[in-house]
Symmetry: C2
């Protein structure tokens, strides 16, 4: 394989497997090239990826040396991605009876869920996250993409007790929107004991679901390293959880005059 082609192949492999360490031997075998050539190739890829602002490549030298790609989103790109989503949210056609805003299509669009996942992974990339957890349903795609970029599994919390999950651990929580006591369930086959977890949710009003998830994490012995919520309403100002990172604020106090949204980064 020619040098140019090797560079293309290395780029593709690193880019497809964020936060996964590849040994130099893996590449020398795959590309049938010497170690010094591969080292040169990797240095070029490292440069190119850093030039695009989509992350950085780390290399470890020595016998057990390796290469790993850490995706990152620049502040500028983050603002531009979230602004595009925020603009869409403000369309009057998205108003739903009962003071809700329709956003299911946005989170089910791979383009947006991938970008949201990249943004969240970029924020928590240095924290040694071992598991991403979310509660079904609408936040699953973004949580999944976050898990992909962090190279960790996702644990799915259910809102009803499903036979297919086997034995579960459950906690009760107060659903903010309906003010009812509900229950969430996590399969006991997902072992989160002493694991560093990142909690992701698509929407927060009172914070009941997020609070429930942190209680559930405590119950199973996991360490919550952060809570990241995609859409958070301005009111009520007091949420049931104290520490969380919102991506987009929804100012829904007076929805009749239209939803106003703002980015957390800019507020």
């Amino acid at each position: 394989m020619k040098k140019n082609e090797r560079i293309s192949v290395i780029t593709k492999i690193l880019s497809d497997h964020p936060n996964e360490v590849f040994s130099y031997n893996y590449f020398t075998d795959l590309l049938e090239a010497g170690k010094s050539s591969v080292c040169e190739d990797v240095a070029i890829v490292k440069n190119a990826i850093e030039l695009t602002g989509t992350g950085y490549v780390e290399t470890y030298s020595g016998a057990s040396g390796g290469v790993v790609y850490h995706p990152q989103v620049t502040r500028e790109e983050e603002v531009s991605i979230l602004k595009e989503i925020a603009d869409q949210l403000q369309s009057p056609a998205r108003k739903i009876q009962g003071g809700f805003v329709y956003y299911s299509d946005i989170l089910s669009n791979p383009r947006y869920s991938k970008n949201i996942g990249r943004i969240i992974a970029s924020k928590y990339g240095q924290m040694g996250i071992e598991y991403v957890v979310t509660t079904e349903t609408k936040g699953i795609p973004a949580a999944m993409e976050t898990a992909h970029y962090l190279n960790v599994p996702m644990g799915l919390i259910r809102r009803s007790n499903r036979v297919t999950e086997g034995a579960t651990t459950s906690v009760n929580y107060i659903s903010g929107s309906s003010n009812k006591i509900k229950t969430m369930y996590l399969s006991r086959r997902i072992d989160l004991k002493d694991k560093k977890v990142l909690v992701i949710d698509d929407f927060m009003k009172g914070g009941g679901t997020a609070k429930g998830m942190t209680n559930l994490m405590e119950e199973v012995g996991a360490e919550v390293m952060g809570i990241c919520v995609i859409f958070v309403t301005r009111s009520p100002a007091e949420k049931l959880v104290e520490q969380f990172t919102p991506l987009i604020w929804m100012d829904d106090e007076n929805l009749e005059s239209g939803l106003r949204v703002s980015l957390h980064l800019e507020s």
Copy 2:
């Protein structure tokens, strides 16, 4: 930017945006390079990607010329990916009371859901699919990845009527596992009229859910181009839908002696 770096950048962009057409002008502007250089670079990337067996790059010439990457999975890679999943399924620890097999963690692992998405997208890449639809919950990650690789949105069918989806179209269906009549709902804000859709589900026993989804697609005027189901049980042999593509067969007639699984490709 040097030629080597340009090649790395082009590879990353094409690989991150499968089935999306980029004009040559996009690259000449981004890379500050002439069109003939970019054409050469693209030819090298095309070669390299084809050498890795992960797909092919199509180029259109002319004033409105462009470049697009179509991911593909070779039969050999498909067998190896599905075999790894099948092997895991056979672990006795996965047996759940009531004759079920625990696989939620497999589909929630980005590594597997991405690969499954690539496999499905590879099968339906030539059919002009405009939407991927799935029913919540466990199949969402794989459906999402399929949508990503096909560069189309995903439509999420709900098992209960959620206020956040707005007005919905609903159909009744028979849930095979419980033999009860249930209802599935699709937001009317997702316009599938005359759209070519690919239906994805994680599990099929009797085929009731898949049948419900095809009825729902008929109801909203969509054209079902295919039904792809990740895990399908051997019994009952007669399913409620006639045409579908299974990835992995579960031979669960005698679960006490352990689940036997086989790949559709090999059967």
